[in-house]
Structure formats: structure tokens, C-alpha cells
């Protein structure tokens, strides 16, 4: 067997494999549910209903998608320039940290001044966290996969230390959590009476902004050139290292907004379980979207939908919640295969 690249893929070829991948994911998930003792034919319906079927479910999915859009964008921006930022998790916590440090009373400002300040502070913190690996890479050639990945653990332990020490809420009954944000620091809801905060709106705005930057700005052109062929970019006079550092700043800032929006929009305080792996799931979100920033909105909702839907399904059908993780992994692997099949033809010999 060998793979032959296809010069001009037809419309059918670019649509059918991904559709088959989704269908296969559903079939495999149903089989797994059957093994777990549930009715395989009810599984899909229960997931869709649990994720999008009711107003409550839909809002839950959008809330869950919000941090994933931010981390997905962070990864999409970085990967587009072939800067492998695996550390969105650390940058997310950096954003959350700044939000609680400044938002729990240190700045007694009204909301219209405080909230943008918190967001900006979070962006700067996330950018700073990723600046270190970026400089190590451009100056000394240190592999950013290693540094960004390991920084996740370092940063989580750092947060843990702070939550057991200086940031510990004196009213928290001994739990390792920070004090709550003051009311002016909380993100308002987007619509009266609906449990959806402005973090979601900001995420959509960021996705559009990133898309505009990538397609219309010189920085976007440079980032794509550096990502596709670093040697040719350097030969043409594009300052590759400077572009990589700018990319890192943008990526780190976007990931940090996930932490800001979770704390200021949803949780109100910082705990160690603020992110159930949003930083890593962001990689899946970005890859499924083929690194397209607008696609990230769709895939983040898809991934959030699977999580929320599978959660609800597991309660309704009495199967383990781990089914959601397995579905996501299956969807990712099959989608990667499908994407390859849209570009290559398999020849048997």
C-alpha cells in the first residue's frame, strides 16, 4: 500500500471522509455503551439531547465551549507558525492567577474599568509565561515542546503553593481555594436571565480577530510563511525568530483569557481544579479545526457538546462518564485519518 497525493481534491473527497469519521465515532461509541450495559441505539440520541436538546443543556455546552475556544485559538495560532505550544494549561492558570490577585479587592474600581484591566493583565501574564520558552527556543534552540509541557506541571504546583499559602481564602474553611472576586470583577451575563457570561462573546470576538490577523495582516502572512517553510521564510528576509516570539505572545495571551473567563465569568474564585485539562483539550479542538480560527468555534462546541452530552447520557443510561473521553479520542483519531484521506489516495499494489 502506498499514499499518492491528490492534486485537486473533488468536493466529495473533502466532505465524505470526515462525515464517515463522525458516523464511525457514533458507531464505536454505541458499541462501547453496549459493552457498558446500555442500549446502544439510545446513546446517540441521549448525547445530542444532553448537549443541545434543552435550553439548559445548550447553555451548559456554550459555557463549556468558552475556555476551549480560547485554548483552541492559542494552539491554532502557535501551531500555524509551527511553534508547538503544549503549555496552554500553564498560561490558562497564569491568567486566572492575575484575575484573582487583582480582582479580589486589590483594585477597588468599577466594573467598566476593572474587567478590561483584569483581561489585559491576564493576557500579559500568559504572554510572559510563554515568552520564556520562546526565547529559549530562538536563542538557544531549546525544544519548546519540552519546555512548555513541563511548565504546566511547574505552574500547577506553583498555584498549589499559593493556594495553600498567601492566596488561601481565610473564610474558606481550610480548603485550598482563593478568596472570591468582588462583584465588580465578575463578567456580566450576555442575556438577562440566561446562564451565559460575556466570556463567550469575548471568545467569539477573539476568534474573528485571529482570523483577520492571519488572513489580512503582515504578521499573519509572516506566521504562515514561517510555519510552512522556515528556510524559505528566512531566505526571503522574514525575521523568523521575531515572528516566533510574536506568535508566542499572542498564543500565550489567548490561553490566559481562558483562565480569566473561567474565574471572572463562571467560578468566581481560583481552585486547583479550575481546568479539567482545557489546555490539552485545546490541542484537540485546534487540530479538528485544521488550525482555522473560525473552525475552532465550531469544534470547541462539538467537543464541549460531547463532554456535556456524554455526561448527561451516562447519568441517563447508567454508564461510566469516561465514555466521553473515549468518544473524543476516537473522534480525533478518526478525524485525523479522514483529513489525510481528503488529501491522499491509497493505492494497493
Amino acid at each position: 500500500m502506498r499514499l499518492e497525493p491528490i492534486a485537486n481534491p473533488s468536493f466529495a473527497r473533502s466532505v465524505v471522509p470526515p462525515a464517515l469519521a463522525i458516523a464511525a465515532t457514533v458507531v464505536i461509541a454505541s458499541l462501547l455503551a453496549m459493552i457498558a450495559g446500555a442500549d446502544p441505539f439510545a446513546v446517540l440520541g441521549l448525547i445530542i439531547k444532553g448537549a443541545f436538546g434543552t435550553k439548559f443543556a445548550l447553555l451548559e455546552t456554550l459555557n463549556r465551549a468558552t475556555p476551549l475556544i480560547f485554548t483552541g485559538l492559542a494552539v491554532a495560532v502557535a501551531f500555524r507558525a509551527r511553534f508547538w505550544n503544549i503549555g496552554a494549561e500553564a498560561q490558562l492558570y497564569a491568567g486566572a492567577l492575575v484575575t484573582v490577585v487583582l480582582g479580589t479587592g486589590a483594585l477597588p474600581w468599577p466594573g467598566f474599568a476593572l474587567i478590561p484591566t483584569l483581561a489585559l493583565g491576564a493576557v500579559l501574564a500568559g504572554a510572559l509565561v510563554l515568552l520564556v520558552p520562546a526565547i529559549l527556543k530562538t536563542r538557544f534552540g531549546v525544544d519548546e515542546v519540552v519546555t512548555t509541557l513541563l511548565l504546566n506541571f511547574i505552574f500547577l504546583l506553583f498555584i498549589s503553593m499559593l493556594l495553600e499559602g498567601p492566596l488561601k481564602d481565610p473564610m474558606g474553611m481550610g480548603w485550598p481555594k482563593s478568596a472570591r472576586l468582588i462583584a465588580d470583577a465578575r463578567l456580566p451575563r450576555m442575556f438577562e436571565g440566561l446562564r451565559l457570561h460575556w466570556g463567550f462573546g469575548l471568545a467569539i470576538l477573539c476568534a474573528v480577530a485571529v482570523w483577520v490577523i492571519q488572513t489580512r495582516s503582515t504578521l499573519g502572512y509572516e506566521m504562515r510563511a514561517v510555519g510552512l517553510n522556515r528556510a524559505a521564510a528566512a531566505f526571503a528576509g522574514i525575521p523568523v525568530n521575531r515572528v516566533l516570539v510574536k506568535t508566542a505572545l499572542l498564543s500565550g495571551g489567548l490561553a490566559a483569557l481562558a483562565g480569566f473567563s473561567e474565574v471572572a465569568g463562571l467560578k468566581g474564585s481560583l481552585t486547583l481544579d479550575l481546568s479539567p485539562g482545557f489546555g490539552y483539550t485545546g490541542i484537540i479542538v485546534a487540530m479538528l479545526a485544521l488550525l482555522n480560527p473560525l473552525g475552532v468555534i465550531v469544534t470547541a462546541m462539538f467537543v464541549a457538546g460531547i463532554f456535556v452530552g456524554a455526561d448527561s447520557m451516562s447519568r441517563a443510561a447508567a454508564v461510566p462518564t469516561y465514555l466521553a473521553d473515549m468518544m473524543l479520542a476516537t473522534a480525533l483519531l478518526l478525524m485525523v485519518l479522514a483529513i489525510m484521506l481528503t488529501r491522499f489516495r491509497v493505492r494497493r499494489e
Binding site: 492534486a7 485537486n8 489580512r216 495582516s217 503582515t218 504578521l219 499573519g220 502572512y221 509572516e222 504562515r224 510563511a225 510552512l228 517553510n229 528556510a231 524559505a232 521564510a233 528566512a234 531566505f235 526571503a236 528576509g237 522574514i238 525575521p239 499494489e349
Partner: protein
């Protein structure tokens, strides 16, 4: 007259299509015991495709491969090797960090052998190396070998596997004339020992010197099969290139002032590739300077220096007589240096960018195409359309990804990109490598046009014919040192070959001191 019993390799009516392109059109070829058949053809004529089919890398659409009377199963990459066919590739397949002996025995022994039988391996290699006049130090690391020595290791590697048929793909492309003579001596010994050889080349005098028969390929077709004794270089050239190819007619030029000067520049060695050693070079208005030499002798360092990719460790560079302080790729572009890179796929273009995006690669941040950080895509696209028209780039349109273009059309886009602003300095590094003859002539005529309007052109090539045909002045580079300048027609190919092999440089130093 032809004795078919002795045929050791037979390709029968091999056809292979890639999309609309017919790479091999019903090509038949036979090789008899103890003979050298030359496969002659321009780059892109289908030689490599044919060999890939023989070795099972590609499956032919129709036709068969027969070795010692047995048909090989198509698409099986081990079949030809197991049947006793060995190949020495143009680009060597050696492990740099291992010794010569390890490279030769690598893969020729079972994976889980209990003992390596070191002495037996050495004995066998020694015997082959004596029999075939292939002298090389078995314990040396491949990284430390010269190109000629590496090729000897490749040939030893094939002979170690007891091949009966040896295929050499452009074996002389990287050799000096003297090393080529040594190679031919080895090949004659191989013939005497009963081997048969397919010699792939596009160099006519070598084909005349070594082969018994010649098969000529052109645009995927077998256009002639002749006995070498019955033909001559001129006839073969016509067969190979067809009659449509006309070399550009070159008028003598009178050079103007120095536009770009390199003064006593040295650069560090990079691995086993020498850097520049106190090199001085003047590029004058209205003159083509040809840089001849075997690859890996410092051409890359000199090209990088002019292109702005490296700065001198010692010495200075001058642009229009002014010393240059800051020097980067961007500076070189801004100073109006047109740079045609050696590898148009790896450094010249970005494969998944459109023609438009590739056209503005060097000037995207000029006022024409962007302002305060935002692109003017409409203007960029119009610029690309303009280049496509003017430089005859055959493509579906400016939004096509450039990876879908042929090498010649890719090169035309690069030419348009760098020449459109009428630069006064042109760096052309291997500008016609891998192009068909039509594209070659086009590129050459563009370089000559640039010269005629007063630009200084530096032409770097490993093809001595190209250098001698186009250059007003020739320098030879060897081991990072630059020869004195030779005016057009003052040195014969073999004299230049001597310089390429490193002769003459020491006397030059003596004279200078």
C-alpha cells in the same frame, strides 16, 4: 548479430503516467553480460522514473522487468536487489556517523547474528577493494570522506552484496575530471570481472568514453538506441535535445564599475564543508561572473554571503563602493540584490503558498503591498498576474498553490519575483538545475538580458558547460579558495578541471608572497 542469450536485464515496453504527464512511454532496454549501456537524457527525460520502476519504487502502468530471464514482481522493492541488481544513487545513502566498514556491511547481515565475524567482513571488503581498485580507509568515518571517496564506498557497498548488474545514476555529477577518470578505471575492471553496467548521465563526453551502447531518452520516449562506436557527441546531442533547442547567442560585453565587492572574506567551516578562505571577488556592471567548482567546495558559503544569509567572519563587503555594516537577507533585498536560490523547493518558494503569496515573499512589507501591518491582497494578486504574463508562467492562476507547478514554471515565478524591479546585482545559484532545455534557455536569456541592461551577475553552477557558455569571467572555487579570474575562452575545460581539483592554488600563494 545480437546474442539474446546473454541478456542479463531486460525492460520491456515500460509505460508510466503521472496524471497527464507520460514519464515513460513504452521504453524497452536490454543489457548484456559484460557491457556498459549508457542511458542518456536531459533532466526530466524519464531516466529516474525508469530506474524507480526497476527497483520497485513505482509500479509501471504496463510493461515488465526481467532480470536473468526471470520477470520481477512489480512494486516489490527487494526483488531487484535480491536478483543481483545494485544501484549507486546520485545522492549518497550513507550513514555519516559510521565507519566505512560499518556502512558497507550494514543491512547485509542477519539482524540477530550471534557474532559479527568482523575479520571475515574485512577480508571480503579488502578483496573487493583490491580487485576493483577502490582504495578507501575502512576505519574512517564517512563524515570525514571526500565526495569521491564516498562514491567509492557506495560502489563497494553494492559489490559487497555480490551484484551482477550495477546501475550508476549520474555518478560523475559531483566528481572532478580526475576523479571521474578513476571511476572509469574501476568500471572497466568491473566489466572485466563479468559485471554489466547501466550508466545514467547527461554528459556526452563521458557517455562516449565509457559505454558500449547508448539509449537516448527524450520527454519520456526512447528516441534512439545506437552503438557508441557508430556515433559521436554531436549526433548524441541532437538526439538528446532535439533540434528545437538553440543556445543563446552571446555578444561580448564591456564591464562597468564594481557594484558588489567581497574583500578578503573568510567564513567558518560548516561540518565537513569548507567556508571561504580569504576570498576576494568583484561583480562589475554588465558582466556575468561564473563560479565553477565541484559541489561542497564553498559555493554555498559564497552564495549565502551575497544573499545576506551570513556575514563575513573576516574581511569586508562593499555595495556600490560603500562598505556594508549591517547585512541580512532583508538588507540584501533592500539593496536590490536579485537572489535566485539553489533549491527552489526548499528555500525559493513555499510549496503550500499560492503564486500570489510566493510572488511577494521578499517584498510583502514594502509600501506597494502593505501599510501599517495590513496587506493589500488585491495589489499583490495583480503583481502576481503581471509576473505570470511577462515571464510566461504556465499555471491555472495566481491563486494556485505553487507546489502544483513544474520546476521550470516555479523558476520562472522566482525570476519574475526577483527581476521585476530591475535589480543591478543578480545572484543565480544553480539556476537551471533540473529544468528542461526550454526552461534552461529561458533562464539563460533572462540572465543575459539582465547583464545587457547593466546588471552584475554572479552565476554559480556545477555544470562546466553552462559556466563556459554564459560567463564573461570565470573563477574556480575549491576548498573554499578562489582562483584568479579567467577571461572567457582563455582556459580549456581540462585546465579548469585541474583548478576544480585544487591544483594551482598553492603556486598562486607562492606568487603572491
Amino acid at each position: 548479430m545480437r546474442d539474446t542469450a546473454d541478456v542479463v536485464l531486460r525492460l520491456d515496453a515500460i509505460t508510466k503516467r503521472f496524471g497527464k504527464l507520460i514519464a515513460n512511454d513504452a521504453i524497452s532496454l536490454s543489457l548484456r553480460r559484460g557491457e556498459v549501456v549508457a542511458l542518456l537524457g536531459e533532466n526530466g527525460a524519464g531516466k529516474t522514473t525508469l530506474m524507480n520502476i526497476l527497483f520497485g519504487q513505482y509500479t509501471a502502468d504496463s510493461g515488465t522487468v526481467e532480470v536473468f530471464g526471470r520477470v520481477l514482481p512489480p512494486g516489490n522493492s527487494r526483488a531487484a536487489l535480491d536478483a543481483g541488481v545494485g544501484m549507486v544513487h546520485q545522492h549518497f545513502t550513507l550513514a555519516d556517523n559510521m565507519t566505512v566498514k560499518e556502512n558497507i556491511s550494514l543491512g547485509a547481515q542477519p539482524l540477530f547474528a550471534l557474532s559479527m565475524k568482523n575479520s571475515e567482513i574485512t577480508k571480503k571488503i579488502k578483496k573487493i577493494s583490491d580487485d576493483f581498485n577502490l582504495k578507501v580507509d575502512l576505519e574512517a568515518r564517512v563524515a570525514n570522506l571526500t565526495v569521491g571517496e564516498r562514491q567509492r564506498v557506495e560502489i563497494l557497498k553494492a559489490l559487497y552484496r555480490d551484484v551482477k548488474i550495477l546501475i550508476l545514476d549520474e555518478p560523475t555529477a559531483v566528481l572532478t575530471p580526475q576523479e571521474t577518470d578513476d571511476l572509469f578505471a574501476t568500471l572497466r575492471l568491473a566489466i572485466a570481472n563479468g559485471l554489466s553496467i547501466v550508466f545514467i548521465s547527461h554528459k556526452l563526453h563521458e557517455v562516449m568514453a565509457i559505454s558500449d551502447r547508448v539509449s537516448v531518452l527524450r520527454h519520456g520516449k526512447l528516441v534512439a538506441e545506437v552503438d557508441t562506436a557508430d556515433t559521436d557527441k554531436e549526433a548524441l546531442a541532437t538526439l538528446m535535445m532535439g533540434t528545437g533547442a538553440v543556445a543563446p547567442d552571446i555578444a561580448v560585453a564591456t564591464p562597468g564599475r564594481d557594484l558588489f565587492s567581497i574583500k578578503n572574506v573568510s567564513t567558518p567551516n560548516i561540518g565537513s564543508i569548507p567556508g571561504l578562505k580569504r576570498v576576494s571577488l568583484n561583480l562589475k556592471a554588465g558582466q556575468i561572473v561564473g563560479l565553477a567548482g565541484v559541489s561542497g567546495n564553498g559555493q554555498a558559503a559564497l552564495a549565502d554571503l551575497v544573499a545576506g544569509l551570513c556575514t563575513p567572519a573576516e574581511g569586508t563587503i562593499e555595495h556600490h563602493g560603500d562598505p556594508v555594516k549591517n547585512w541580512s537577507a532583508r538588507d540584501a533585498v533592500n539593496k536590490g540584490i536579485a537572489r535566485i536560490p539553489e533549491d527552489r523547493h526548499k528555500t525559493g518558494t513555499i510549496a503550500d503558498f499560492s503564486l500570489t503569496e510566493n510572488a511577494i515573499l521578499e517584498c510583502y512589507n514594502s509600501d506597494d503591498f502593505s501599510k501599517s501591518g495590513w496587506m493589500y491582497w488585491k495589489k499583490a494578486r495583480a503583481f502576481a498576474v503581471d509576473i505570470i504574463d511577462k515571464y510566461d508562467v504556465r499555471c491555472p492562476g495566481p491563486d494556485t498553490r505553487i507546489r502544483l507547478l513544474s520546476g521550470g514554471n516555479m523558476q520562472k515565478l522566482i525570476l519574475g519575483r526577483v527581476l521585476e524591479a530591475a535589480p543591478d546585482i543578480v545572484l543565480a545559484n544553480q539556476p537551471v538545475r533540473g529544468l528542461d532545455i526550454g526552461a534552461v534557455n529561458y533562464v539563460h536569456s533572462q540572465l543575459l538580458a539582465a547583464r545587457d541592461r547593466g546588471a552584475a551577475v554572479l552565476l554559480i553552477s556545477e555544470d562546466l558547460d553552462e559556466i563556459m557558455r554564459l560567463s564573461d569571467v570565470i573563477h574556480v572555487i575549491s576548498g573554499g579558495r578562489l582562483s584568479p579570474e579567467f577571461l572567457r575562452g582563455t582556459k580549456s575545460p581540462s585546465e579548469l578541471g585541474g583548478w576544480m581539483a585544487g591544483q594551482g592554488f598553492d603556486e598562486q600563494v607562492t606568487h603572491a608572497s
